[in-house]
């Protein structure tokens, strides 16, 4: 009998907490935009700067009088990098009256949160995830993706390297979900171009060396090495082993090598590494963004901040054109986005969802840059031409 009294008490506690967790009453007048970020889990290094960019964008919007004359309010939820919690966070944001949800967490978390936007028809977007499958695995008309896709990254790198005429190349990735996904699309892109994969290696999270993997690459003697992993420590191991083992094949890296942490943790290992980026420091929009951000926060933004910033501006643009937060109108407005110039993307490129597609990053919007010693060099190539 004792047990059931505890069970009762436990249930009372649960009920109390459920009530406590319920959202506050809707604040009249403001437009709410929800963000799902990762504050404690594996996506934290990437989710944090993107979130900061989004927060800055909202401050800027409100300083200019808000959106449609209404204040923009940001609701931020932490999904801890857990997909099931991400779906719960999405529900909470829907309940709290979010007009739009931005997912900045892990790719599988964004995937699972889509269950909610599919069901509730609340517009939902990820401005930063780059996995190709997010808009194809679930047919969800309420979801958009504006990060540069893995397939766009490899196509841009290949167009840059066309003159090099690679025949056999190696791929090195890690075992994170995004690393595996990017690797898959790099592989598909290479095979489509008739390039043979001479070696394909995985450096698992928590490895202490990448030398066995890189020895295998060296033994395969490829014309080039494509890095598709997204974990900075493991990528650093790859670069270290590459120098250590005296490899000579040029390195072409995915978008991850563009984050500034490499210039400190992989110092001395970067010279000559070619990487694809979505950020051109010479672009006027970028210069304005960097200056305004610095003035507002006192610190320098980097490319990942630009994602969050662009994400908010794209959403604000759609809501403005929809004239309000009606879900159907906002969805139509979002889908109708064309020629939207943001911080991210090469000069002359723009966001847009042409031909019913829900991936909005300009396929010609990526740039290729090369490390000069430990400094990210100027843009040497643009798009897929």
């Amino acid at each position: 009998m004792q047990h059931s009294s505890f069970a009762r008490r436990a249930r009372a506690l649960v009920a109390a907490v459920l009530v406590a967790a319920a959202p506050a009453a809707f604040a009249q007048g403001s437009i709410r935009i929800g963000i799902i970020t990762d504050r404690v889990g594996p996506a934290k290094p990437y989710a944090e700067p993107v979130t900061q960019g989004a927060e800055f964008a909202v401050r800027e919007l409100n300083a200019k009088g808000g959106l449609l004359g209404r204040k923009v309010e940001l609701l931020i939820e932490d999904d801890q990098g857990k997909p099931d919690v991400s779906a719960t966070a999405a529900r909470k944001l829907v309940d709290a009256g979010a007009a739009f949800i931005l997912s900045l967490s892990l790719t599988p978390a964004t995937q699972q949160a889509q269950t909610v936007s599919l069901e509730t028809r609340v517009p939902h977007m990820t401005p930063s995830n780059s996995g190709d499958t997010l808009t194809t695995q679930i047919s969800n008309p309420n979801f958009w993706q504006t990060g540069p896709l893995g397939s766009t990254q490899i196509a841009t790198l290949l167009s840059y390297a066309r003159s090099k005429n690679y025949k056999r190349v190696a791929l090195v990735t890690d075992n994170s979900d995004l690393g595996q996904l990017i690797n898959r699309f790099f592989k598909a892109g290479l095979e489509k171009s008739g390039i043979q994969i001479a070696a394909e290696e995985v450096v698992p999270r928590g490895a202490t060396t990448a030398e066995p993997q890189m020895q295998k690459v060296r033994a395969a003697n490829p014309d080039a090495l494509f890095m598709t992993g997204v974990l900075t420590p493991e990528n650093t191991l790859v670069l270290r082993a590459y120098r250590q083992l005296g490899l000579k094949a040029p390195i072409l890296a995915n978008y991850n090598l563009s984050v500034p942490q490499y210039t400190s943790v992989a110092k001395g290992l970067l010279d000559g590494v070619t990487f694809v980026d979505a950020f051109d420091p010479a672009k006027p929009e970028v210069r304005r963004f960097v200056e305004a951000y610095r003035k507002d926060t006192g610190s320098d933004p980097w490319n990942l901040h630009g994602y969050g910033y662009d994400g908010i501006l794209l959403v604000a643009d759609a809501i403005r054109r929809a004239g309000g937060t009606d879900r159907d109108k906002v969805r139509e407005a979002m889908q109708a986005t064309r020629n939207f110039v943001g911080v991210m993307g090469a000069q002359g490129s723009s966001y847009g969802f042409a031909d019913g597609r829900r991936t909005g990053f300009d396929t010609n919007g990526m740039v290729v840059r090369v490390y000069e010693r430990d400094v990210q060099g100027k843009v040497v190539h643009v798009g897929q031409k």
Partner: protein, 294 residues
């Protein structure tokens, strides 16, 4: 052949790091029976200590390493005082301190994550970045440095347990707690010292691996799992077991990656399968403990 020897150096260096973590487990578990999964986080704490002293404050290498190791000694001591001592004194089952230390694992990781943020931080290599070739044997400076330090530490630990009075006291406690207490050995001192030593050893492991991988908030758990696996392979009975276990694990991992004809994603599953088989065939580890009353 050249490739194999080069790989052997790299595997030995990795194996030495695993072995050091296994040794950290071992010096704590021998006298107390407590498996402390927070060793990985201790390694991470020391790695960040290395970042502060060596990278940030630019202390001389030896001074930084010594300071961090000493600090880890204190961290281990404090951890024992706060979370293990009260439970042991109360006579709680051995699982209780293990669980309290699992909680400490979370506490340490979150303190790092809150204090330093999620970005990885660099540590300098002991002798800079370079390649040393001795005949056919070739590897990075850091690999040779790691191997040297770890072998030295193992020799020191072995000497301590086998040749010093204090070390024999540890062994006596490991073999029979009650008898040791009756002989006048201060059990709580031995426990505190074993944790302090374990933290210092784990800290050195962190300081050796972080110049390659960088110091970051997610580095602890993989090290804890790798070290624990090495410990189980080698057996908890003897100091040499940790070294053997670490080397076997690292060679199994790296030879699989290099030579086994399996898809790259599955290569990391091979050591896991080996481990499961190994546990089933020889659950007490390779090197058995000395008999209680030899």
């Amino acid at each position: 052949m050249r490739d194999f020897l080069e790989l052997a150096v790299s595997a030995t260096a990795s194996g030495c790091v695993y072995a050091l973590v296994a040794l950290a487990y071992l010096v704590m578990t021998r006298p107390t029976g407590i498996i402390n999964f927070a060793v990985g986080e201790w390694a991470a704490v020391a790695a960040f200590g290395g970042f502060l002293t060596l990278t940030h404050a630019e202390w001389p290498y030896a001074a930084g390493i010594a300071a961090v190791t000493a600090a880890m000694f204190a961290v281990g001591w404090a951890t024992e005082r706060l979370t293990v001592r009260p439970l042991v004194e109360r006579g709680a089952p051995v699982l209780a301190p293990i669980l309290a230390l699992l909680g400490m694992l979370v506490v340490f990781r979150e303190l790092i994550s809150v204090g330093f943020g999620p970005d990885p931080r660099p540590l300098p290599q002991a002798f800079g970045f370079g390649r040393l070739e001795i005949g056919l044997v070739a590897g990075s400076y850091q690999s040779f440095f790691t191997i040297g330090v770890v072998l030295g530490l193992f020799a020191l630990t072995w000497w301590f347990f086998e040749r010093t009075l204090a070390g024999r006291a540890f062994e006596a406690v490991a073999i029979d707690r009650r008898a040791a207490a009756l002989m006048g050995i201060d059990l709580s001192r031995v426990t505190a010292l074993s944790f302090a030593g374990g933290a210092a050893i784990a800290g050195v492991a962190g300081l050796l691996v972080a110049p390659n991988t960088s110091a970051h908030y997610m580095m602890g758990l993989p090290l804890a799992v790798q070290g624990f696996t090495a410990l189980v392979i080698g057996g908890v009975g003897r100091v040499e077991g940790a070294l053997v276990g670490g080397l076997i694990l690292a060679f199994a991992e790296q030879l699989t990656v290099r030579y086994a004809p399996v898809p790259p994603g599955l290569a990391m599953g091979v050591p896991l399968v080996l481990l499961i088989l190994f546990l089933l065939v020889r659950p007490t580890g390779l090197l058995a403990a000395r008999e209680a009353r030899a």
